[in-house]
């Protein structure tokens, strides 16, 4: 090959070299491991060029196909993920880019890497657990984000108990890791509409009562604010109609939102307003909900009248606020409450 100074390695050679380096990396002594890490980093760099091209050099489809095949046959991705923490900073980034490129591969309508990962799901679980290790958390996040784009993988993650780990990850103390985990959490719950609606509906109790509630009551300001915002998005998505109906008929949820309306943070108050409005606008309020609203009628109308009065430029907000005030002011007790009171009075 006269065109190149040194002829580039073939996909088979690259995969073989990488596998050897990773083998040493996972079992060898410190000295050997260091060399192996360097070797692995070098090969990852070459693989990246093969997949993405460089300069005016376009990637060649037949080479990338061969490479992917090597990856599946020798479980290279799995080995890479297992040894990720031992790779250097730039090699980890290369790995994430390589992983995502291979994952996006399509043959017709088939996504062979997605199929591969479905059969080697422990690899995806490993990526999720990556959030526990700050050294690899964000790299894992990058790869997971690509995984979640694919419905079969998103579905497996949701159905696997490990999904509930995210409730813990979003409260990690390092902001960038926690908020990356939150972005993933949101993706998982919103990206594939039907899948998500089905998941939320089937697991309503576990998700909202057992776990989500804790996020809304978190000590961490960012967790509170973000989870409340996401809650609003989830409830106002028409695919989640059933979930919303369940949510807005539970008086505990209404009480929580009323509490959040008076949170010291204006941002949180504002997000709470956007959930609270759904309770009030619901034409089929359950009796307990109606009772709470009626009991607090004076306070609520008074409160809303003074609520964020400086948002004069936000017409939607002001329209909605006026509407809520009117609704609450004119609210009628449920028919059976009236009779119940009448009976009580008679006794």
């Amino acid at each position: 090959m006269p065109l190149f100074k040194s002829s580039p390695k073939s996909p088979q050679e690259l995969a073989k070299g990488l596998k050897e380096a990773l083998g040493v990396l996972s079992s060898g002594g410190a000295k050997r491991a260091e060399k192996a890490a360097e070797e692995a980093a070098k090969i990852l760099g070459q693989i990246k060029v093969m997949l993405y091209g460089s300069g005016d050099q376009e990637p060649q489809p037949e080479l990338t196909a061969q490479l992917a095949q090597e990856f599946y046959n020798h479980d290279i991705l799995l080995h890479l993920i297992n040894n990720m923490a031992k790779l250097d900073f730039e090699a980890k980034k290369d790995l994430a880019q390589i992983f995502n490129n291979v994952l996006r591969r399509q043959i017709g309508t088939r996504c062979p890497t997605v199929e591969y990962l479905c059969s080697k799901f422990e690899l995806v679980l490993k990526l999720i657990r990556g959030y526990e290790n700050p050294e690899v958390a964000l790299n894992c996040g990058m790869m997971l984000r690509e995984c979640v784009r694919h419905e079969p993988l998103a579905k497996l993650i949701l159905e696997n108990g490990d999904f509930y780990l995210f409730f813990k990850f979003v409260e990690l103390s390092t902001f960038d890791v926690a908020s990356d985990a939150f972005a993933m959490f949101r993706d998982l719950l919103t990206r594939h509409k039907i899948l998500c609606a089905n998941f939320l509906e089937t697991n309503y109790e576990k998700v909202f009562v057992d776990h989500y509630q804790k996020l809304l009551n978190s000590e961490n300001y960012v967790t509170r604010r973000q989870s409340l915002k996401l809650l609003g998005e989830l409830l106002l998505d028409r695919h989640n109609f059933t979930t919303m109906s369940l949510y807005i008929n539970n008086p505990d949820n209404l009480k929580l939102m009323m509490k959040m309306l008076i949170d010291p943070s204006r941002n949180i108050q504002f997000e709470a307003f956007h959930v609270f409005k759904v309770f009030v606008a619901n034409p089929n309020k359950s009796k307990p909900i109606l009772d709470i609203l009626l009991r607090n009628r004076e306070k609520l109308t008074d409160f809303l009248t003074k609520f964020h009065t400086d948002r004069t430029e936000d017409q939607q907000f002001n329209d909605e606020k006026q509407y809520l005030i009117k609704q609450i002011r004119e609210m009628q007790p449920a028919a059976d409450t009236a009779t119940a009171t009448a009976e009580a009075a008679a006794v």
Binding site: E90, P134, E135, L138, S173, T174, F175, D176, S179, D180, A183, I194, N198, E201, T202, Y221, V222, R225, Q226, L236, R238, F241, M244, L254, K255, L256, M258, I262, P264, S265, N267, V278, A281, N282, P283, N284, K285, S286, K287, P288, D291, I292, R295, N296, K299, D302, F303, K306, F307, E313, D314, Q315, Q316, D319, E320, Y323, E330, A334, D336, A340
Partner: protein, 591 residues
């Protein structure tokens, strides 16, 4: 802050990208805050001592309540920073939340920014023939170029290269700070939006600071790439020589005009006062280098790697050269630090006082104030709420009004009713099937097969589709009846109610405009039930339910208004177009 035990000695040198960088504490009490070294509209940068490893750091404290950026934007920014590890790129250590502030822990660059330094030199009156001498400029800019080369190799564009964003360390190291789409992070100069707002915060249409901005970035009809940074780099070179960017004295709009219309600035055209002096002080190779960067056609500008090979950069020295020159010339650290009045009990918050200084508020004070604020306007979510009954009021499908509307067509209506009944029957069956599957899944998730899952999803889709069909039919039926009396009416009826015919013009998810016509009988219909029906019929997005109901109410109460156009709050303000109903909907009364 209470004196703590002397921390165990720890290495003071942090290797870039090494494991060490992950070992920073995320606890507020592990940092002893010192002087304020910089401030923006919603943030301050403070020197601090990290007690766990006894290292001096800079902490940027961003007030999340006030900050115009969303948390997602901040996350993106910090994600970018933590994804960079290069000696010429700002070293980020960790970040964490303290009350409603975000603390960003970064390497302390005690020399300050190059802007601080050139300002200081100019103020000392030491800049007749140019502010920084050529060797210093070459040394600094070479570091900047290496930083930019790293950015560009990672597919990033800095977009705001300027002296104010180049930081100098105690040891003469040079780091590029503040990158990504985020001039708000370190710099409040270009907060076009002014006040912070959350949902409605104006999106800056272009990023960067006008004086340093490449023409193709200003001209938004063409895209731009990393070569935009090379232009800004050239402007920065002029800035270091003359003390300001060309056109710095003009207002932003004028700067845009001059940049787009005039030939690219040069040392001669921008240094109007000391033109001849400058020419004496700065070599041809400096001027050539600048000229190469400031070419109108981005493709002609060199890349960051190519530019490093330019003859001018042969003059560059090692970084300790800068210790001798600019760090000695620059302002002392102490003079930059602004004194902070401190109130005991220092976990309070910093805020700017009227005289522009910084002060701590005591924790308890501020909490008491919060308390009072809340006291004034508080509804209480009554915890002891007596919840006696959990019965959910059943949906009342009341009999069609015995004819408030003479247009009712009984045969069409009975047909509709029949169809609705059929659909209801179908739905009932599907729902039962699905319930079975759901119970199976809950009881025995392990044995729940792919097939079963798929059919469960398919069932749900079918149910939802049928539900929409049903509601659509019901909606039609109700229109035939001239009202939508499916729900108990909550509004107090006005006395003489005339039928109101509405038309709602709104965009579908596919962005098509559509007209939805419906009738409203004041006193009989309620806006919320109607708007709810529109949702159920798949004619309206859930998120618009309240705002549509609110506007129906407005027109019902004041029919003389005839027409209302209202924003839907689903779009960034830059894309809104009221005339085309992009991000808006229109509701009007038909005669």
């Amino acid at each position: 802050m209470a004196a703590e035990e002397a921390p165990t000695p720890a290495p003071t040198i942090q290797k870039q990208g090494s494991v060490d960088t992950y070992k920073w504490s995320n606890k507020r009490e592990d940092y002893e805050l010192l002087d304020v070294i910089g401030s923006g509209a919603t943030s301050v940068v403070q020197a601090a001592n990290c007690l766990t490893n006894n290292t001096k750091v800079a902490i940027k404290r961003i007030e999340l309540e006030q900050c115009g950026a969303t948390i997602e934007e901040l996350q993106r920014e910090i994600g970018l920073m933590s994804n960079c590890s290069h000696p010429n790129v700002v070293s980020y250590y960790t970040s964490f939340v303290v009350k409603d502030e975000l603390w960003l822990v970064m390497k302390m660059m005690s020399g300050g920014s190059l802007l601080d330094i050139i300002k200081h030199i100019v103020a000392e009156g030491d800049s007749k023939g140019g502010v920084l001498e050529e060797v210093t400029i070459a040394t600094v800019l070479k570091g900047v170029l290496q930083g930019l080369e790293y950015f560009h190799a990672n597919g990033l564009i800095h977009r705001d290269v300027k002296a104010g964003n180049i930081l100098i360390g105690e040891d003469g190291s040079v780091q590029v700070a503040d990158f990504g789409v985020s001039n708000w992070l370190y710099d409040s100069q270009l907060r076009l939006g002014g006040k912070a707002a959350s949902r409605k915060s104006p999106r800056r249409t272009f990023v960067g600071t006008p004086c340093w901005m490449a023409p193709e970035v200003m001209d938004q009809s063409v895209g731009y790439n990393e070569k935009a940074d090379i232009w800004s780099f050239g402007i920065t070179a002029l800035e270091l020589a003359t003390g300001t960017a060309p056109y710095a004295k003009f207002p932003p709009m004028k700067v845009l005009m001059l940049t787009l219309e005039n030939p690219p600035p040069t040392l001669e055209t921008c240094g109007d006062l000391n033109r001849d002096e400058y020419k004496k002080h700065y070599s041809k190779s400096f001027q050539k280098m600048v000229e190469k960067c400031l070419q109108r056609d981005p493709a002609k500008r060199p890349t960051a790697s190519e530019l490093q090979k330019h003859q001018f950069f042969k003059k560059a020295r090692e970084s300790d050269y800068l210790v001798q020159t600019i760090i000695k010339q620059g302002p002392s650290f102490a003079s930059r630090a602004k004194r902070v009045k401190r109130v005991p009990g220092s976990s309070g918050r910093l805020h700017k006082t009227e005289d522009g200084g910084w002060a701590w508020s005591d924790d308890e004070l501020s909490e008491r104030a919060d308390e009072e604020d809340r006291e004034n306007v508080k509804p209480s979510a009554d915890e002891d709420a007596v919840v006696t009954s959990t019965t959910i009021p059943t949906v009342q499908v009341s009999a069609p009004g015995t004819s408030s509307s003479s247009t009712a067509d009984p045969s069409a209506q009975s047909q509709l009713d029949k169809k609705i009944a059929q659909i209801e029957e179908k739905m009932k069956r599907l729902k039962m099937d699905r319930e079975q599957l759901t119970t199976q899944q809950q009881q025995n998730p392990a044995e729940f097969t792919e097939e079963q899952y798929k059919s469960s999803v398919a069932l749900l889709e079918n149910i939802q589709r049928l539900e929409r069909e049903k509601h659509e039919l019901e909606f039609q039926a109700s229109r035939l009846r001239g009202s939508v009396p499916r729900f108990p009416v909550a509004t107090a009826p006005p006395q003489t109610a005339a039928l109101l015919k509405f038309c709602l013009r709104i965009r579908t998810e596919q962005n098509q405009l559509k007209d939805i016509k419906f009738d409203f009988i004041p006193g009989k219909d309620s806006a919320d039930a109607l708007s709810n029906d529109l949702i159920a019929a798949g004619l309206l997005e859930m998120k618009n339910i309240v705002v549509v109901a609110a506007n129906i109410t407005k027109l019902v109460e004041n029919p003389s208004q005839k027409k209302l156009i209202f924003p839907l709050g689903n779009m960034p303000p830059s894309q809104l177009e009221e005339k085309k109903l992009i991000g808006y909907a229109q509701l009007n009364l038909i005669e």
